[in-house]
Symmetry: C2
Subunit: 204 residues, 2 copies
DNA sequence: ATAAAAATCTACGTAGTGTAGAGTTTGAGT
DNA sequence: ACTCAAACTCTACACTACGTAGATTTTTAT
C-alpha cells in the first residue's frame, strides 16, 4: 500500500484507529440492543470489535465513555437532520411535518435515544447532550406555537412552558412506544400531534 | 419488659426483624438522596442500618431487592392516597384537584418516584410496579376527559390514548421539575393543568 | 532504514457483589 | 427454669468486572 498521494494528502489515509473506533461503537450499539447497558461488559464490547479489553482502554477511558461517544455520534445525526427541517409556515402542516420527522428519528435511532435518556441521570456528559437536544426541540415547538397564535412568554399558559411540557410528552410517549411496535409508534405520534394542535388552538 | 398481654396477643410484640427491615429501607432512602443509586453500596446501607453486609442479606437478596421494597412501600402509599381521591363531578375542578394531589405526591416522594422511573428498565419488578401506577393515573385521567365530553375510545384523538399521553407529560414534567425547586414543581403543575384542560375541550 | 507514534497485549490491583457456614439471641412450649 | 427451633448476626470467601501498568508489536513519517 502507501500510494504517496501527490499533493492533496494533508489528511493521510484513514488511521487504523478510526476504523477500530467505529467498530467499537457499532459493537456497542449492537450489544446494547442485545443485552442492555448493565449486562453489557467492556470485555464483550472489545471481543465484538476484535480486540482485547486492554486495547479498548486505549480508545476509551471507560464503559461510560464508549456509550457517551455512541450517543454523541447519534445526536450529531439528529442535529443535522433537524437543520434540514422543513420551513413550513402553515402551523398545521409544520406540526404534521415535525411529527413525521420524529417518527423517523425514533424508528432509526430509538435504541440509542432510549439509552441516552436512561443514562442522563448517572452520566453527566450524556445528560448534557440530551438536555441540549431537548432544548432544541422545545425551541422548535415554541416557534410553532407562537406562529399559531399562542402568547409568547414564560407564564404557565404561554408558549415556552407549554412547549417544554409538550416536548416531555412526546419524549416519553415515543420512549415507550418505540419499545413496542412500529405501529404503536405511529399511534403515539397521532395522539401527540392531536394534543399539540389542540394546545396550539388549532381545534377545528 | 414482657407484659404477658392477656388475650389480645395473637400478634406478639413486633419482631426485631421488622424494625431492622424498616431501618434498612429508611437508610436506603436517605442514601439514595445523598449519593444516588449507583454510588450507594450494600455495605453503606448495612452500616447505616447498624448491621453488617452479611446480616442485610438475611433480609434482602440483593441491592435491587432493597430498592424494590422501598419503591413498593412508597407506591403503596400513593395508592391509598389515590383511593381517597376527590369525587368531584365538575371536570374543571376535578382536574385542578388531581394536579394539587400530584404536586403533593411529588414533593413528598419525588426522590423514590424518580428512582422508580430510572430503574424501571433494569429492574423488572420495579417496572411492573410503576407501570401499574401509571395505568391507575391514566384511567383516572381518561374518566375526567370523558366526563368533559371527549369521545371515549382508543383512536388517537379519543380519550384513552390522549389520557396516556397526558400521563407521560405529567410524569416527565414532574420528574424534571422535582429535581429543581418546589417553585418549578408548582409552575410545571400549572402548565400541565392548562394543557390537560385544553385537551379536554375546556378552552374558555 | 530508523525512530517516534500508534496500537495491542498480558498481568495485576481493587471494589463491590453475593454465598457459605458457623455462632448467638429470642421466645414459646413444657 | 429448661430446651429447642427459629430468628438473627457475623466472618470469611469466591467471583466478576472494572480500570491501570508496563512491556511489546505494528504503522507511519522522514
Amino acid at each position: 500500500m502507501s500510494s504517496h498521494q501527490p499533493t492533496r494528502s494533508r489528511r493521510t489515509t484513514e488511521r487504523k484507529g478510526d476504523v477500530r473506533e467505529r467498530a467499537i461503537l457499532d459493537t456497542c450499539e449492537a450489544l446494547l440492543a442485545e443485552k442492555g447497558y448493565e449486562a453489557m461488559t467492556v470485555g464483550d464490547i472489545a471481543q465484538g470489535a476484535g480486540i482485547t479489553r486492554g486495547a479498548l482502554y486505549f480508545y476509551f477511558g471507560s464503559k461510560q465513555e464508549v456509550v457517551t461517544a455512541l450517543v454523541a455520534r447519534t445526536v450529531e445525526h439528529l442535529w443535522e437532520r433537524s437543520r434540514a427541517a422543513a420551513r413550513t409556515d402553515e402551523p398545521r402542516e409544520a406540526i404534521a411535518a415535525a411529527m413525521r420527522r420524529t417518527v423517523e428519528l425514533w424508528t432509526e435511532h430509538g435504541l440509542v435515544m432510549r439509552t441516552a435518556i436512561d443514562l442522563s441521570l448517572t452520566v453527566p456528559e450524556i445528560g448534557e447532550l440530551w438536555s441540549r437536544t431537548a432544548d432544541a426541540f422545545t425551541t422548535a415547538i415554541t416557534a410553532v406555537l407562537e406562529r399559531a397564535g399562542v402568547q409568547p412568554g414564560t407564564e404557565p399558559d404561554q408558549a415556552s412552558p407549554m412547549a417544554r411540557a409538550l416536548c416531555w410528552m412526546i419524549e416519553r410517549s415515543f420512549y415507550h412506544a418505540s419499545q413496542q411496535s412500529r405501529e404503536d409508534l405511529r399511534k403515539a405520534s397521532s395522539t401527540c400531534e392531536h394534543i399539540w394542535k389542540v394546545s396550539a388552538g388549532l381545534t377545528a
